[in-house]
């Protein structure tokens, strides 16, 4: 495997999968993530912002906690690898510039409120006139049609309506009675989920435009894509919807199965996957602490019992007593060696020191030259042999590429 790994290192400088794709994105915080995914895959992503800057420049936290349009860590996180230009779309001259720009684009991502770009004469109908091959992707809270079309969304609202909040929370006190509410998953998941759906749809449309093959079905054209953040979030709840469809049972909101270790960190466990054969190994692990006796009940030697809630709770309780004297890191490796599917539940920043993440080069320092510093970002969602994920440069300062982009457009005109 080392050989293959070495090949990745050599591949680092190669262009991304979509290095022939130009993307123009316009809109607020729901456009950022999708453009970042395409930039990571090599696209030339140009972010169009109003003169005062994108609304996402106002989302914190901020560098050194000083709010400023060029110091938003939210903006930094989701806009690296892009170029940025400013346009006042309420002014006729800039609307023309926008059309000049989208004429050169393969993909337009429009996350302005539904209807706004049409009202400005810059919607899909107008873009199609100047660029027949354009893939035009609209991202709005609820999509362009449907009874909730004009509802206001937000990360919290989408996680509530989309159903993920229903599945996040602490366990019930008694059947049907919760002391605490359902919780949202912090860190902007609704925008990420919509972006993932949008990016795959865009990639497929772009592929179909470029590789119609021997088909006679119209490949080679552009098309329009309507992304509803609500629809995407509603799809993100794994087996909960099919489980209801097929059994009539709703998911029960529960805290995850986890045990606390000596360093205060939790280990998440999936005990239902444990096989009888692994219990023998587990008893060996527990023997020095004298805890192996707790798993010596002969019922544990029947496959049916091991899968019952009673059995998994008994095993988890025993493992909890064992882990109380181990750090999460020690417990993780020891339990995995006994084929217990488990992992430490850590704050993200602790991954920077994780041996697995280090080995896989999961983090990268990106220069912020105007600050004379570099900061740490996630490097890639997967490793590739031929075309690496593009990690930088850092997000554009407001208007940073105005001159460069317009000059480029003029020289190509």
């Amino acid at each position: 495997m080392a050989g293959t790994n070495a090949k990745w290192q050599a591949a680092r400088a190669t262009p991304g999968f979509f290095d022939d794709m130009r993307v123009v994105e316009v809109g607020g915080e729901s456009v950022d993530f999708c453009g970042m995914l395409l930039a990571g895959e090599g696209a030339d992503v140009i972010k169009v912002e109003p003169p005062e800057g994108s609304p996402s420049r106002r989302i914190g936290p901020f560098y050194e906690d000083r709010p400023d349009k060029d110091r938003s860590l939210f903006f930094w996180t989701y806009n690296r690898g892009k170029r940025g230009v400013t346009l006042d779309l309420d002014a006729a001259r800039d609307r023309q510039r926008y059309l000049d720009l989208v004429r050169t684009a393969d993909v337009i991502i429009d996350a302005q409120p539904a209807g706004r770009m049409n009202a400005l004469g810059l919607g899909y109908d107008a873009v199609k006139q100047v660029n027949t091959g354009a893939v035009y992707c609209s991202i709005t809270p609820f999509g362009l049609y449907g009874p909730w079309r004009d509802f206001k969304g937000s990360d919290l609202i989408h996680q509530a309506l989309g159903g993920s909040a229903y599945c996040i929370g602490y366990s019930q006190q008694s059947p049907g009675q919760w002391e605490t509410p359902p919780f949202m998953a912090q860190s902007w998941h609704s925008y990420a989920i919509a972006a993932e759906h949008a990016a795959v749809a865009i990639a497929a449309a772009f592929y179909w435009r470029h590789h119609p093959g021997n088909r006679t079905d119209g490949g080679g054209r552009g098309q329009f894509i309507d992304v509803s953040i609500h629809d995407a979030c509603a799809q993100s709840t794994e087996g909960t919807v099919p489980r209801y469809i097929y059994t009539g049972r709703n998911q029960v909101r529960n805290a995850p199965q986890q045990i606390r270790c000596s360093d205060g960190r939790f280990i998440a466990l999936v005990i239902t996957m444990l096989r009888i054969a692994n219990l023998a190994k587990l008893r060996e692990l527990l023997a020095p602490a004298g805890l192996d006796k707790e798993l010596e009940d002969p019922r544990f030697d029947t496959a049916d019992y091991v899968k019952t809630p009673e059995a998994t709770q008994r095993i988890a309780a025993t493992l909890g007593r064992w882990a109380a004297t181990k750090t999460a890191e020690e417990a993780f490796h020891a339990l995995q060696r006994c084929n217990v599917v488990c992992a430490p539940n850590r704050p993200p920043e602790e991954l920077l020191d994780d041996a697995q993440c280090r080995e896989r080069n999961n983090f990268v320092d990106i220069e912020h030259p105007e600050l004379g510093r570099h900061f740490t970002y996630a490097r890639h969602p997967s490793l590739r042999s031929e075309a690496s994920w593009r990690t930088g440069p850092r997000a554009p300062l407001l208007g940073e590429h105005d001159e460069e982009v317009w000059r480029q457009l003029q020289s190509n005109a």
Partner: protein
């Protein structure tokens, strides 16, 4: 904003429209949800996905808790089941596979649009048949623990020796390098390992809550599908194949918001913020109890206009005029008191009626929807055809969720993919794949069957 018909976007494509990945063939050795879901997305875009299974090592989602149970709930709907498939290899051989292996709802929903064959990869002869399949494929994908394919000589170098420009995506738990490469991984542990689960719930000393479903089973397929489509585009332009090594936890590193940068740039460690909005000023911002069992509403107020609308909906009780709630800053500073007062108002109300009232008044609000709500009542998902009816050879017709939700005007994705069908029964497409695609004779197939190869 005026609503013209063109604001809806162009007319949507129909089921007669082309699928964008038509002509792409994928040999699918995936497993469970996180890896299988990648092939499912690509099938919904038109790729011909051939899912390989072997009855003695069956995907556990075929035997999940929902297996068989769905039949009774569906019978209650008084519509007939499909005709059933009688000619299924595992039944002929008297294998230990239970008859409900074809009747898992979760497996059906997660694997529509695929072809299904039986092939015993643990036999050398089985791997020879596999190689014939690879020769006719554009993409190979697997969801084994990382070392498995290499032990069979079928890692990227091995696959490339079979087909030079093959695209191979390996979707293991921890990736093909590193000290954890042999470890087991599932949704709940991937969302822990990647740091995501730590961020939800109440601040210390409360435990992190994570998701009670496997978010990190639903999410990695999108990253995998994006990479595969990219690699196909790259291959078509350069003639070169690709090896993609995706760990289940790795996409999660992109999903933990600003946590990494806040640590790297500001030295701040992660915490939990309940339902508050720590980085975009808002108050009230929470999920509040409503009338009825387990009924809740989310309300998010980002500015004074929304606050005034909320107050009007509450009929402007005296407390809303108190100094401590006069500005957004003040409301944030006094959120605990504010949340308690808002909940005193929501607790007697129906969460849906309240949502409509608040949204009508311009206040962002949403009922906390359960799976049942999404299936039975969500009027928006209904109008947007979120569910699609598909046939399954044993289970009959069921509603399926769209795995890829965006509406593409020219090449709409469809969960039925090229098969126009739900998930395959075990070995359902042996004849099509072995006879038509690989050109085996009936005798050859029978011989393989007799030797336990297919």
């Amino acid at each position: 904003m005026s609503k013209t018909s063109s604001d809806r976007g162009p007319a949507l494509g129909s089921e007669m429209s082309p699928l964008p990945l038509k002509g792409v063939r994928i040999t699918d050795l995936t497993w469970a949800l996180a890896s299988a879901g990648n092939a499912t997305l690509l099938a919904s875009l038109g790729a011909e996905v051939i899912r390989i299974e072997w009855p003695e090592r069956m995907d556990f989602t075929r035997l999940s808790e929902t297996a068989g149970v769905g039949i009774s709930s569906r019978e209650a709907q008084r519509t007939p089941l499909g005709p059933g498939k009688k000619e299924i290899p595992y039944q002929k051989k008297g294998s230990p596979v239970p008859p409900h292996a074809n009747r898992s709802g979760v497996f059906n929903d997660r694997n529509p649009g695929k072809y299904g064959i039986t092939l015993n990869m643990s036999l050398a002869e089985g791997r020879e048949v596999f190689k014939r399949l690879v020769r006719t494929s554009d993409v190979v994908m697997d969801g084994f623990k990382a070392p498995v394919m290499g032990k069979w000589g079928l890692d990227y170098d091995g696959l490339r020796a079979i087909k030079e420009d093959i695209i191979y995506i390996q979707m293991s738990g921890y990736g093909n390098t590193g000290p954890c490469r042999n470890y087991g991984s599932l949704g709940p542990t991937a969302q822990a390992f990647s740091g995501l689960g730590y961020l939800h719930g109440l601040p210390e000393p409360h435990e992190p809550t994570s998701w009670s479903h496997s978010y990190m089973d639903t999410t990695p397929p999108f990253y995998g599908a994006l990479a595969v489509i990219g690699a196909l585009h790259h291959r078509n332009r350069t003639g070169r194949g690709q090896y993609i090594d995706q760990a289940q936890y790795e996409p999660g590193l992109f999903l933990n918001g600003t946590a990494l940068l806040d640590f790297s740039a500001n030295g701040r460690r992660s915490g939990r913020h309940g339902n508050r909005s720590p980085y975009l000023p808002a108050a009230p911002h929470g999920i509040y109890r409503c009338a009825g069992d387990d009924a809740w509403i989310a309300i998010a107020v980002f500015n004074d206009a929304e606050w005034r609308s909320l107050c009007a909906c509450m009929e402007n009780p005296d407390w809303t005029r108190e100094r401590r709630f006069a500005t957004l800053e003040a409301r944030i500073a006094n959120q605990d008191a504010l949340d308690a007062l808002v909940e005193q108002w929501t607790i007697a109300q129906d969460h849906y009626a309240l949502m409509y009232r608040l949204q009508e008044a311009g206040v962002p609000a949403g009922a906390v929807q359960s799976p049942e709500d999404k299936v039975r009542t969500d009027p928006h998902l209904k109008v947007r055809d979120f569910f699609v009816q598909l046939d399954h050879s044993e289970l009959g017709t069921w509603p399926f969720t769209r795995h890829l939700t965006p509406k593409l005007s020219a090449t709409p994705a469809h969960p039925g993919g090229p098969t126009h069908r739900g998930a395959p029964c075990i070995g359902e497409d042996n004849r099509y794949v072995y006879e038509e695609l690989l050109g085996m004779s009936a005798e050859e197939i029978r011989a393989y069957e007799d030797r336990g190869v297919i």
